[in-house]
Amino acid sequence: MPERSAIDAGDLLKIYPGEVTAISGISLSASEGEVVGVVGPNGAGKSTTLKILTTLLRPTGGRASVFGFDISDTRNIRPLLGVALQDVGLDPLMSGNAHFEVQAALYGIKPGALRNIADPLIERFMLGSYLDRAVGTYSGGTQRKMALALALCTRPPAIIFDEPTVGLDPQSRRLVWELIEEMRLEGKVVLFSTQYMDEAEKLCDHIYVVDKGRIVAEGSPKELKALVGEGTLRIVVDAPAKLRAVIEGLIPDGVVEEDGEALVIKIPVDSKVPATILGALQGDVAVREFSLTPPTLEDTFLHLTGHSLRPEPLGRSTADMGLSMHRGGGAKWR
């Protein structure tokens, strides 16, 4: 386990002009060799938190440090950070090559030395054929890849990414995941925000769940999922009435939902109920589908905040959404 916090924040408060409180009491830390995620819906305060930690925004209250330097010590902190914000931060009139030249100048690195680091990134992100063109002509995904390559090409010991995979195709998204894994292995500290729970679950050693400007939970993905404690049991049989009767007999206060032909019920993950149900049905009823899905981080978020990470589609209730997320395993909402 990492021994010290490279990025450390305590009780961060940010009140924007107009008395709009963006975050209140945010405390987090990230150590070398650790990947830390900040997850939450739009407007939760993720970007504000990361902007404070990148020195772009001054907090109204609280404290923060990077590698022991107070967040106000921008001179010492900025060389240590690789930053990719939600806005890709590219000049649409400048070529990709010119961006690398400017990045090298801003970080005091010789262009040749920078390209030695950047070339493998350019190759991996497949940016080579774009570099002579004005960035304004790139697709959104290519611009995002360019921004990530620029953030990494200075070889910073700490990485702060704000929603790095938004707008990327699945292949590029996977590549970003690989790079984050590599940075973990290199002992770098990676702090990133995301709305994608699968991404957070796959990559993060530690996750902070943020909602309405506050941290509502934190822990490893496993610890967070344990907060829910309930999985989703989904059964399709030839005789649903009999199944319903069996379930209601076993769990009198359980809520049985219908999802097409399937009956769906939440049960504790370590429950013996599934085996009992199967035993009760055996011989009488043909079971066409029987699955127990463990809780996901998305379930955790719903459990903690009472609402989903992504906007609710028109005409659906929050309860419907919870059910639908299991149906589609989350993919439906992307």
Partner: protein, 268 residues
């Protein structure tokens, strides 16, 4: 160990970054020559050719230098109009950088935005110096006698372009404060009252008394006086000195506004 390596890498590279940012700003201006070069030159050329003739009899009024025609009198004002019209480019470009997030890319870097802004302002100075040369030449074509070309060009470039960069600082401060290019463009016509409240269009004696007080503190009065003398072949040390002080004071005020706007941005 990584931290130490990153520290060592950060030896000062500001001059190289400045040159890169300067070249970038020049390339940017040249990519839209109609907006950055041609349009600002239209009004001053119109002033020289039309105003000079329409108001030619004004030069007969007491207070005007004897024997000098009105076109010759307002030639420095025309040069300054072109310069002030073209001075908002750094502000507009910075507003665009704020909108695209490129400004924040620079803010999170070790060198910050200072080098970029310095590069942009130097690029503006270069372009405005070019305006000063072109408009001095245009005034000669229009019939304004130039007795000492090196002196006329030197004073027009040194005072005119420097004043343009200082005046453009207001647009830069507004762009950092608002991140809005339209707001910056809306400030451009401010040049008009600044000229009217100086001796650029009529001599001090013809201004109302209250306006004379303002004109005495307006650097534009001294810049125009110096340029007018230089065109006639004289170096007016008194006016030039006052012009330089005025430009310096205005520059300090503009820089203070830029700092205030930058501080505001860090808090919002």
């Amino acid at each position: 160990m990584e931290v130490a390596a990153a520290d060592q890498r950060m030896d000062a590279k500001a001059p190289r970054a400045f040159l890169i940012m300067y070249r970038r700003a020049i390339r940017e201006a040249l990519s839209v020559p109609a907006t950055t070069i041609l349009v600002p030159l239209i009004l001053p050329i119109f002033m020289l050719t039309i105003f000079g003739r329409v108001f030619s009899s004004a030069a007969q009024l007491p207070g005007f230098p004897p024997g000098e025609d009105y076109a010759t009198y307002i030639a420095p004002a025309a040069v300054l109009v072109g310069i002030m019209l073209g001075s908002a480019t750094a502000g507009i470009s910075t507003a665009m950088e704020l909108q695209t997030g490129f400004f924040d890319r620079m803010r999170v870097s070790p060198l910050g935005t200072g080098v970029s802004m310095a590069g942009r302002r130097m690029a503006d100075w270069t372009r405005l110096a070019f305006f000063a040369v072109v408009l001095t030449f245009a005034s000669w074509v229009d019939g304004v006698p130039i007795e000492n070309w090196p002196l006329a060009i030197g004073v027009a470039v040194a005072l005119g372009a420097s004043w343009g960069v200082v005046y453009g600082g207001l647009a830069l401060a507004a762009s950092i404060r608002t991140a809005n290019a339209e707001t910056v463009q809306a400030m451009v016509p401010l040049f008009f009252p600044i000229l009217l409240m100086s001796t650029s269009l009529v001599p001090m004696r013809l201004l109302p008394e209250w306006l004379q007080t303002i004109a005495r503190y307006n650097p534009v009065s001294y810049i125009c006086d110096s340029m007018r003398s230089a065109t006639a072949g004289d170096f007016a040390a008194g006016s030039t000195w006052k012009a330089l002080v005025g430009i310096a004071v205005a520059g300090i005020l503009a820089q203070a506004l830029i700092q205030l706007a930058s501080r505001h941005r860090a808090h919002s």
